[in-house]
């Protein structure tokens, strides 16, 4: 075994590169040579926990019912901005069954996201936390909230992005509402724009999208006098653990966070929230478990969103080359202190010599943004890929041909590093064939009725998803020969549990049902949060190493028991196979009594000097009703280049789900905020329109599928985010092809389509 060493790792997370110090031990394995499936990896496998989920037996955070459990509820500001001058909770406290109230005048000092207090003296959005009640039942806690009298001094507010960015807006931050959120330059865009044969200068908008995972945010906290156990519906058990230990001043070992099953996150549960602190404070005070679960309305006020954006793009071309892209963006971060930068695709997708981008975040009196599946890239790709089509139309070039010319580079233009693997051109070829691109006509074709037009559009996808260290796995054997795999990650619904079981089973030589996966528990060594499409590419290689180590040990032990040489043995689907004999592994293990074989594995750093990216392309066929402005998406073809596919069944489902979420963003999903009241008018599932089974088009999913052997020992990259990135732009481009009208605001509602048709003189 090679000695332990400390090194640096540079890894991409949601469009940004981060450097970290990592400890490495031992040697990594080589990636499998080809894309051939193993017994498990590469085969479509139903979820190993599928039956628990379909029968209602799976216990989610919402479902926990602990003995003596109390319920907490949160009072939220009814104003978009106000000073909390006085809180009178006496009536609530006097109510039988109410066990405590916390507010800014009696809460302990808690540090949360660089703020010193849990309850602000100036509440800054409608929905901001003002007080919390804990009571014997949830209904009682919510009733008690209505008895709390709060005196507010209402302050001027602003909720709209463009209003907040104007000089006349009330200043919410002392230094103004518009903040720098990153910039990037290569070449000389000004000069290229001056010297260009053709230019376009266009403005796009995207509205605020809300996650609305079916399980709302929530936590159950239980303090036993020495240790705090918290069950939370989270994408990062370690993230919650670290936040809570800091907020509550506890040692890491005093806080255990668990998440066995969770009901969706899409980025909103990657961060940490005050409800977990509130539940913990009450539990520590009262010595009883406390549950704090958000309502659907709270979810839509205070649990994150995808920022609305305003984006200006200028493109220049000479001959058949795009010579420059200039991109300036403004994002409504609400009360968030960061922006999901929309310029990532602009900076990295195409081989364009001159690129300049500037991103701004704008503070408003609305709930903070949170990561939302490919944050920034969804918004930015809608604008960039619409603009590429607009330029193609201007210069009379097929938009796919124009993209092909700028997608050949083998190096990442931002870093100059070579791609570990890039099969974007293959994505174009496969997708174009599947959608029938050769039948695309400038100006579209007649639809199913005289007032309906049909068109084709496409768009490209770039994203990270290479993952990285640290991540650890252990494998040990039970006395019956089954394996227990422990990992510090969680399964947020994507199928991580099944995928790591497949990797483990193949590497050892077990059947899938002989591997039990333990995850979602901070008692395991560290695993990363499930965000940035990093989970499988981070933990998978560590699992492979742990399983490899375990297999070597079990074969040596079996050799001792069977009195043969280890080299003569192999493991096949749970059987120890030697020359002419097959022995169930369980029979061998029985003879070891309680001796336990433990394999360990860690994630090695990513290779130096290589860019790890995922690529893809979506193609859309739509029909547009020129009289009503309705867009009917008939077919989407999605082709992705994400390395080895561990579970084709789960992967295809992941892509379909991403596309349908993208169609919501493209067509119907939009947070509506009353500017005067600062109030979200559709903070529910009735007026916030998520696609249903009635809205789903035919979706064809294809993978290039070649393992990325240079990326990691599994050859796999992430797939969570890529499928939500290009679909909206593909639809917008198909609509423009069908009608000749360009809709530059997502969602492309009927009103916006009709307005665009009218502008173009069509309707």
């Amino acid at each position: 075994m090679s000695p332990l060493r400390v090194t640096k790792s540079r890894d991409e997370f949601e469009g940004e590169i981060y450097e970290s110090t990592v400890v490495v031990e031992g040697r990594d394995l080589a990636a499998p040579r080809d894309g051939a499936a193993g017994d498990e990896v590469g085969r479509p496998r139903p979820r190993v926990d599928g039956r628990a989920r379909v029968t209602g037996a799976a216990v989610y955070t919402h479902d926990l019912h602990l003995a003596g459990m109390l319920h907490a509820a949160i009072l939220r500001s009814p104003y978009a901005r106000a000073r909390v001058k006085r809180v009178d909770a006496s009536k609530a406290e006097a109510l039988p069954g109410v066990r405590g109230v916390l507010h800014r005048f009696n809460a302990p000092e808690v540090e949360f996201r660089q703020e010193k207090a849990l309850f602000r003296d100036e509440v800054r959005f409608l929905g901001d936390e003002v007080a919390a009640v804990v009571a014997d039942s949830e209904g009682l806690a919510r009733y008690a909230l209505t008895l709390i009298a709060v005196e507010y001094e209402v302050l001027p507010h602003v909720v709209d992005l463009e209003e907040a960015a104007s000089p006349r807006a009330p200043k919410i931050d002392p230094d103004g509402n518009v903040h720098d959120a990153g910039s990037y330059t290569r070449g000389d865009t000004r000069r290229a724009l001056r010297e260009a044969e053709a230019t376009i200068d266009v403005t796009y908008r995207t509205s605020t999208q809300m996650h609305n995972a079916l399980e709302t945010h929530g936590a159950v906290a239980s303090w036993d006098g020495e240790r705090l156990t918290v069950w939370e519906s989270t994408q990062s058990v370690f993230g919650v653990r670290n936040m809570l230990k800091d907020a509550l001043g506890l040692a890491p070992a005093q806080v255990r966070v668990l998440c066995e099953h969770m009901g969706g996150g899409f980025g909103a549960k990657l961060g940490t929230y005050k409800y977990a602190v509130i539940a913990s404070l009450f539990s520590m005070r009262l010595g009883r478990p406390v549950r704090c679960v958000l309502t659907r309305r709270e979810e839509n006020l205070a649990a994150g969103n995808r920022s609305a954006t305003l984006q200006r793009l200028r493109l220049a071309s000479s001959g058949d080359r795009i010579t420059a892209i200039e991109h300036e963006t403004w994002s409504n971060s609400g009360q968030g202190r960061w922006a999901a930068n929309p310029t990532g695709p602009t900076n990295t997708l195409y081989d364009v010599a001159n690129v300049s981008s500037v991103a701004h975040r704008v503070t408003t009196n609305a709930g903070a943004l949170s990561a939302f599946r490919a944050p920034g890239y969804v918004e930015g790709t809608f604008a960039l890929e619409s603009a590429i089509d607009e330029l193609a139309l201007r210069i009379g070039v097929d938009p796919l041909a124009l993209r092909r010319r700028h997608a050949r580079s083998r190096t990442d233009p931002r870093t100059g590093n070579r791609y570990s693997l890039k099969r974007l051109l293959d994505c174009y070829t496969i997708g174009a064939k599947e959608i029938g691109w050769s039948e695309r006509r400038a100006g579209g074709t007649r639809g199913s009725a005289p007032h309906r037009r049909r068109g084709l559009g496409m768009a490209s996808q770039i994203w990270g998803g290479g993952g990285g260290p640290p991540a650890y796995a252990t494998v040990h054997f039970e006395t019956d020969g089954t394996a227990v795999l422990r990992v510090g990650v969680q399964d947020i619904g994507t199928g991580t549990r099944t995928a790591v079981a497949q990797v483990c089973a193949d590497e050892i030589g077990l059947r899938l049902d002989q591997v039990r996966v333990r995850l979602g528990d901070t008692e395991a060594p560290y695993g990363p949060g499930s965000g940035g499409s990093v989970t499988l590419a981070s933990i998978g290689p560590a699992v492979r190493l742990a399983a490899h180590d375990a297999r070597a040990k079990v074969l040596r032990a079996a050799a001792g028991i069977l009195e043969v040489r280890a080299q003569e043995l192999r493991l096949e689907r749970g059987m120890v196979v030697s020359e002419g004999a097959r022995t169930p592994l369980g029979d061998v293990m029985k003879k070891l009594d309680n001796s336990t074989l433990i394999g360990t594995g860690l994630r090695h750093p990513n290779p130096d000097g290589l860019a790890l990216k995922t690529f893809g392309a979506h193609f859309a066929r739509v029909e547009v009703d020129l009289r009503t402005g309705e867009i009917f998406v008939e077919k989407i073809v999605a082709v992705h280049d994400v390395g080895r596919i561990v579970n084709p069944l789960a992967a295809a489902s992941q892509v379909q789900g991403g596309i349908v979420q993208a169609l919501g963003f493209a067509l119907t999903e939009e947070r509506i905020v009353d500017r005067g009241l600062g109030r979200v008018m559709n903070a529910n599932l009735e007026w916030y329109e998520i696609p249903t089974a009635m809205d789903v088009p035919e979706i064809v999913v294809r993978f290039v599928g070649a393992p990325d052997r240079r990326a990691n020992n599994l050859g796999a990259k992430g797939l969570g985010e890529p499928p939500i990135i290009p679909a909206a732009a593909a639809v917008a481009n198909a609509v423009a092809n069908a009608t000749g009208a360009r809709v530059r605001h997502a969602p492309m509602t009927r009103a916006r389509v009709l307005a665009a048709l009218s502008m173009a003189g069509i309707a």
Binding site: P44, P46, R47, G50, R51, A52, R53, V54, T55, G56, A57, A58, V59, Y60, H62, D63, H65, G139, H211, N212, A213, L214, E215, T216, H261, M262, G263, G264, F266, T295, R296, I492, G493, T494, G495, L649, A650, A652, S653, Q654, Q656, G657, G658, I659, V660, Q661, N684, L685, E686, I690, P691, T692, A693, M694, V696, I699
Partner: protein
């Protein structure tokens, strides 16, 4: 109140404003039906009352007095899953799984009424259920698969 839940007579103390969903989840220990929207929009709380598909969050508990209620827990178990449940697993129709019990109950209700539904009928029958993960394609596959198993 008294009601028959999943074939067993049960009694529960309920407050007059409480929903059937609250009683199932909090009084009768049946958390399979989920509370996700509180207003009958997402279908995660779907159950059968006297054989009729309802959103249990919209049914006043008192209104279920004397009725026969079937929840996802009654359809099948991990050892003996209902054909619809088996089909959901095999078709990969489950991601996070939070909406799944509601879909399973709605699909089972559909196939009881209409064992060979067309695609349009399946979509229509499931239009009251929201799934945020799968994009519905695998769910439609699962119902078609279940229809083949049961007919």
């Amino acid at each position: 109140m008294r009601l028959v839940v999943n074939g067993t007579p049960r009694e529960a103390d309920v407050r007059e404003h409480e929903s059937l969903l609250t009683v199932l989840r909090e009084r009768l220990g049946l958390p399979g039906s989920k509370n996700a929207c509180e207003q009958g929009e997402c279908g995660s709380c779907s159950v059968l009352v006297d054989g009729e598909l309802v959103c249990s969050c919209l049914v006043l508990a008192a209104a279920a007095d004397g009725r026969r209620v079937e929840t996802v827990e009654a359809l099948g178990s991990a050892e003996r899953p209902h054909p619809v449940q088996r089909a959901f697993v095999e078709a990969g129709a489950v991601q996070c799984g939070f909406c799944t019990p509601g879909f399973v109950v709605a699909a089972a209700a559909l196939l009881r009424e209409n064992p060979e539904p067309t695609d349009a009928e399946i979509r229509e029958a499931l239009a009251g259920n929201i799934c945020r993960c799968t994009g519905y394609g695998t769910i439609l596959d699962a119902v078609r698969r279940a229809a083949r198993i049961t007919t």
